[in-house]
């Protein structure tokens, strides 16, 4: 018996909140992508715990694909951000407001 499933949920919830907090607060595009990575990580923890709790492997297969999606997200995200940095010279989201 490891721990009641609800505790795992709370832990994952904290992680999810931290990820959201990081994505929302930090004035840097990279940190936003990082925050989203943390949120994905929190979700995969819940999935693994649920798969153990429900005793069926769907949860784990979910996590396998989350890893892949996280990889694509980072690659596409960083590509855009790096290119934006080369064009505008800054990571600060504030000066990306040409579209009125």
């Amino acid at each position: 018996m490891i721990a009641p499933f609800s505790h795992v949920l709370i832990v994952a919830g904290i992680l999810f909140a931290l990820g959201a907090f990081c994505a929302v607060v930090r004035r840097n595009l990279i940190m936003i992508v990082l925050g989203i990575e943390i949120m994905l990580n929190a979700a995969s923890i819940v999935f693994v715990a649920a798969s153990l709790h429900l005793n069926n492997l769907d949860g784990q297969s979910f996590v396998l694909f989350i890893l892949a999606v996280a990889a694509t997200e980072v690659s596409v995200g960083l590509a855009i951000i790096v290119y934006a940095f080369r064009r505008t010279g800054s990571f600060d989201p504030r000066n990306f407001n040409l579209l009125r």
């Binding site: 979700a43 649920a50 979910f62 989350i66 855009i80 040409l98 579209l99």
Partner: protein, 482 residues
């Protein structure tokens, strides 16, 4: 090998996208005026039209694939046909695409076909995992499509905003799916439909469902997740904006219908949440659209308002509501495409069109002005057009369930929306251009397309009998599945 017969359209579109991948690898093609574009454009047109035929052929396919995680039924096939039609129409207006780098046309078509494939898979997906992945595939291809624009500064900024909000929403959706999965014990929507009624009102299920729907609401541009739409429409090239407004909207409607139909039969909480979201997004969309100067940004806000009307159809949670929403999807496709076609035609060099630049359109090209008039009146919901019939069906379903106040509020929003649509029509019909504009040269197939779309909007509006039949047939599997 039954899946070959069932997954005909999907296989075709997979092949088509791979074909464009190969084209992009073709070595050393010099940029010949727009000669090079000719070849891609023609192959795209050909493949898109065959795609439509394939979808029509497989409309009556019926069955389960991939171990119950992929259902093929009349509902999914109707939406696949709609998506194929949407793609074909978008490709039609891609003939003079000066707004995408010259050597990137192949990638453009590849991403376009992949996104359509993803949306088609999304429509039939029955397992949370496959829904999530198809959604991600379509979103990522759209992020990149928005990025591909010759006017780098606009395309880039739109891509960043679209990407960030999109991934944030999909992360939240994933967390919601985790909660849902842990509470229901199964990933398959069909099983959820059986187990949920018992445990429907426990908090984990409800909040999980809310977060999951959040992801789809992002696709539909409903209130909290709508902020990407104005920038993406304005930032992205005209053809991409057209595609997002039509095809991805239709797929979003499909997946929300499927999820809501199988999970939330008559949960009062979800209905109240949907009422709040629909009211806010209607008002927000209509109010913000009043002050717009850029035509595409105005159409973006009108899409947000239309997502509000669609939510009314969904929150009714019964077959009449679903049929009305499906009909509305068809209407939306027709109306939005005509509006964007006029935008593409009036700004051939792909620049962002200001409303003032529409001045004198009725003289420069009467058929386009008439198409714009019909599209805008249909978006506003004035009777003889398909927009009105869509709204009418949704309102009948809503009032049957007793949402009279909501319908009156929606109608007041229609009045506000007519105000800014009339401003655009006033620009097209009344204002005289500052300096004498050259007459618009509109090729004959384009005139035919404009005339056809006007005819479809008016015909489907005035005698919608067959389209309502189709919508009602498509709504059956949602109920039958329960």
């Amino acid at each position: 090998m039954n899946w070959i017969t069932y997954a005909g359209p999907e296989i075709f579109y997979l092949g088509a996208s791979l074909w464009f991948l190969l084209l992009s690898f073709a070595p050393g093609q010099k940029v010949v005026a727009n000669g090079a574009h000719r070849r891609e454009y023609l192959s795209a047109m050909l493949l898109a039209s065959i795609g439509v035929l394939v979808c029509l052929a497989s409309v009556h396919a019926q069955g389960w694939l991939f171990v119950r995680s992929y259902s093929v039924d009349i509902f999914s096939q109707v939406f696949k046909t709609l998506l194929a039609l949407g793609l074909f129409l978008i490709v039609c207006i891609c003939d003079r695409m000066d707004d995408v780098d010259d050597n990137r046309h192949n990638e453009f078509y590849f991403l376009l076909f992949t996104c359509t494939l993803a949306l088609m898979l999304l429509v039939s997906a029955e397992h949370l995992l496959s829904i999530y992945l198809c959604l991600e595939l379509s979103s990522y291809s759209l992020y990149i499509l928005v990025g591909l624009r010759k006017r780098r500064s606009l395309g880039l900024e739109a891509a960043i905003k679209y990407f960030l909000i999109g991934s944030f929403a999909s992360a939240a959706m994933l967390f919601g799916m985790a909660l849902l999965y842990s509470a229901c014990g199964t990933g398959y929507l069909a099983d959820m439909a059986k187990t949920l009624p018992r445990i429907l009102d426990s908090p984990a299920v409800m909040i999980g469902l809310l977060f999951t729907l959040g992801g789809f609401f992002f696709k539909l541009a409903v209130f909290p997740f709508h902020s990407w739409a104005p920038d993406t429409y304005q930032g992205g090239s005209n053809q991409v904006a057209a595609y997002i407004a039509t095809a991805s909207k239709v797929a979003a409607i499909a997946i929300i219908l499927r999820v809501v139909a199988s999970t939330a039969h008559d949960s009062a909480y979800l209905a109240r949440v949907l009422v709040i979201l629909s009211v806010v997004s209607m008002t927000l969309g209509n109010l913000a659209a009043i002050a717009q100067k850029d035509l595409k940004r105005l159409l973006a806000f009108s899409t947000i308002a239309h997502s509000g009307y669609i939510l009314i159809g969904i929150l009714v949670l019964d077959s009449a509501g679903y049929a009305a929403t499906i009909f509305y999807a068809l209407a939306l496709l027709a109306m939005k495409f005509t509006a964007f076609m006029v935008v593409v035609e009036v700004a051939p060099d792909g620049r962002n069109l200001q409303i003032e630049e529409l001045a004198g359109l009725h003289k420069r090209s009467p058929i386009l002005a008439l198409a714009l008039l019909t599209a805008l009146f249909s978006l506003a919901g004035i009777p003889p057009t398909v927009g009105f019939t869509g709204k009418f069906l949704i309102f009948t379903a809503a009032i049957q369930k007793g949402y009279v106040a909501l319908v009156i509020f929606a109608m007041l929003n229609v009045v506000i929306s007519l105000y800014y649509y009339l401003l655009v029509i006033k620009a097209a019909y009344l204002l005289e251009p500052a300096q004498e504009m050259p007459p618009l040269v509109v090729s004959f197939p384009k005139k035919l397309l404009a005339g056809l779309s006007i005819a479809v909007i008016l015909f489907a509006g005035f005698c919608p009998y067959w389209f309502i039949q189709i919508a009602q047939a498509a709504a059956q599997p949602l109920i039958w599945g329960r």
